[in-house]
Subunit: 348 residues, 2 copies
DNA sequence: GTTAGCACTCTCCCAAATTGAGTGCTAACA
DNA sequence: TGTTAGCACTCAATTTGGGAGAGTGCTAAC
């Protein structure tokens, strides 16, 4: 499993050249471009060995070699030189979230787009469950005769709202009363807490408004549990089409059909999710067959020190991993920082 | 400018055949498939005339003819037989918006997707200014020490929120007081009303909280004016890739670069916007050069009888206009109805 | 005014030939 | 024993050339 120095050099050359050119790379190219001090014949021998070991493959006889998933894996784990990423523009964008405070969703959406722009791959961002959400505030707003809006604010900073129909006799003042009771009884409670005992009390207190309460409870429940569901933000898809692998439409279709299905994407990303650091899944390591030619590089952003979501990118297996790692690392760090500040109240 | 009956028939045959097959259509095909009672030679003569008049074009000598933008235009205006669209599934989806009441944004997003699915073109939905929004409710929620959330509800049913930093000395009770004053003074007011005189009163009343008020006013302003901006919802992009014209990637790229830029798309759609009925802009009639091979079919959905937004689809000029019209008409009618019901309070 | 017939044009497709990049193997060399 | 030069071989990609087919425009006859 361990490779001698020269094999490492050859593999590195192959991976780097293929990343740069997207063309299968031959022994002569390596001998010429990467001065390894040996002839192409020697390199051919090494390549034969590497192929046997599974690190590289030949699309067909008489073509150059291409790294296999395993080859990329070895490259990422042992050969790649880590880089630092830093960019004035990125910094500007990120700072703008802080000076003009933004909604979290907005921040994450833009983060995804930023990654797409920077890398020409597709940025992906996923929020994970923020744990059980608890109710911070509920408000019933009288919109007009017969309709009311229920607004739910959770301690995670999410706002959920819906219009409900109400009896026409209900006045704004009635809604205010209900609002008061609900807040008094339910503030700080999680969905389980609510279910268990409190409801009866409230129904007792507001017996006349049973219908409205039913609706309101519904919205509360939705607001508190929706939170738990994963949410996905995609960067631009356009950018990744600049990659030469997308010369044929079928690939575009496959990718799009997957990216447009939020649920599937969420599942895939959840599989990759890990506590800390930057992870990569290469080609077939991603369990979904449609992604066999893609790699997913994901980092974890945090809140209160706890993982709060993934941020990363999806690109062809032939991607610039060093740069991808650097960008993802940069973004996770910064987004963690931004979120921490936007939601300072949670971290004391 | 007016065509005799036979020319009309020939043009109609060409348009219909091209729509169905995406292949240039020749004189023999027409003679064979569409029994016009004349030979292919006669049709050739007619076609020569039609070409001279600008209704059809030849990709190259010895290819069949293809309708020009002008040809499609004539077809749409004079030849096309209007159809009715009706679908069980669509009805189901639309009804689900009503039984389980949904947020408007959610309804519109899904409407776009529904169109994409039904037609294999790309559904587009745009909300236009709902006129000056007025403030329905404002709420300051204490999130924790030093931070508060401002929630703004407008009479259009939109909810806008943001986290703001507040002095650490401020308690939940203080925020409640501010909330009360703000609601008392500002409810029902539009952004202009607010600016003019009221602010001073409020600042006077709540002199100590100047800082918070500044932030809150900011959020209010944002909430009320954001409303005015157009918002775009796109259906699935995947579906349109099934159209044969997308065999080459460049087209996909051009389309995507445009679709991903909300602002540009909004401009284009605004140009097409019209008070009532279903409109179509064909190819070069759309001013944007990138859309020269596309047509946009748009309808207007309404609220309180007034136009509230556009809903329609974008597809290749070679699209099934009859069906597109029918679907768009169906969707505008239904979405108007759904929105009317969801926002019943506005229409009395 | 309509039609049959025909020469002409142009694309598309196929097969054969050519090119060129790259390999594997072998024999010689250090 | 590891390295290298050389060479035969393979295979995809490109080029070439020749139909085949679709379609047109024109003309002369009906």
């Amino acid at each position: 499993m361990t490779l001698d120095a020269r094999k490492k050099n050859v593999l590195m050359a192959i991976v780097q050249d293929y990343i740069a050119t997207a063309e299968p790379v031959g022994s002569r190219t390596i001998a010429r471009k990467y001065k390894l001090g040996v002839s192409s014949a020697t390199i051919r021998n090494e390549m034969a060995d590497l192929e046997e070991m599974g690190y590289i493959e030949q699309p067909h006889t008489s073509a150059g070699r291409v790294p296999s998933d395993q080859g990329y894996r070895y490259y990422v784990d042992h050969l790649m030189k880590r880089e630092e990423f830093d960019s004035k523009e990125a910094k500007l964008v990120l700072n703008s979230y802080l000076t003009k405070k933004q909604e979290i969703g907005h921040v994450l959406r833009n983060a995804g787009q930023l990654i797409s722009q920077i890398t020409n791959y597709t940025g992906v961002v996923m929020t994970t469950s923020l744990g059980r959400g608890s109710l911070k505030h509920i408000q019933l707003v009288h919109m007009g005769i017969g309709q009311s809006m229920v607004v739910v604010v959770t301690d995670a900073g999410a706002v959920h709202h819906r219009i409900i129909d109400i009896p026409e006799t209900i006045q704004a003042a009635d809604l205010e009363t209900i609002t008061k009771v609900l807040n008094h009884k339910l503030q700080g409670k999680t969905i389980e807490n609510i279910r268990l005992t409190l409801i009866k009390e409230i129904y007792f207190e507001l017996a006349k408004q049973k219908y409205i309460l039913d609706m309101a409870m519904d919205v509360i429940q939705e607001g508190l549990s929706l939170e738990t569901g994963e949410k996905i933000y995609l960067g631009s898809i356009f950018n990744i089409l600049n990659q030469p692998e997308f010369h044929n439409i079928e690939k575009v279709k496959v990718l799009l059909s997957l990216l447009e299905n939020e649920q599937e994407l969420a599942n895939i990303m959840s599989d990759v999710f890990q506590e800390s650091g930057v992870t990569v899944r290469i080609g077939e390591e991603l369990e979904d067959g449609r992604l066999k030619d893609y790699s997913l590089v994901l980092g974890t952003y945090r809140m209160e020190g706890k993982p709060a979501g993934s941020i990363g990118l999806l690109g062809p297996t032939r991607m610039d991993y060093a740069r991808a790692f650097a960008v993802v690392e940069y973004m996770t760090d910064n987004i963690s920082m931004v979120i921490e500040r936007l939601m300072r109240w949670r971290s004391k």
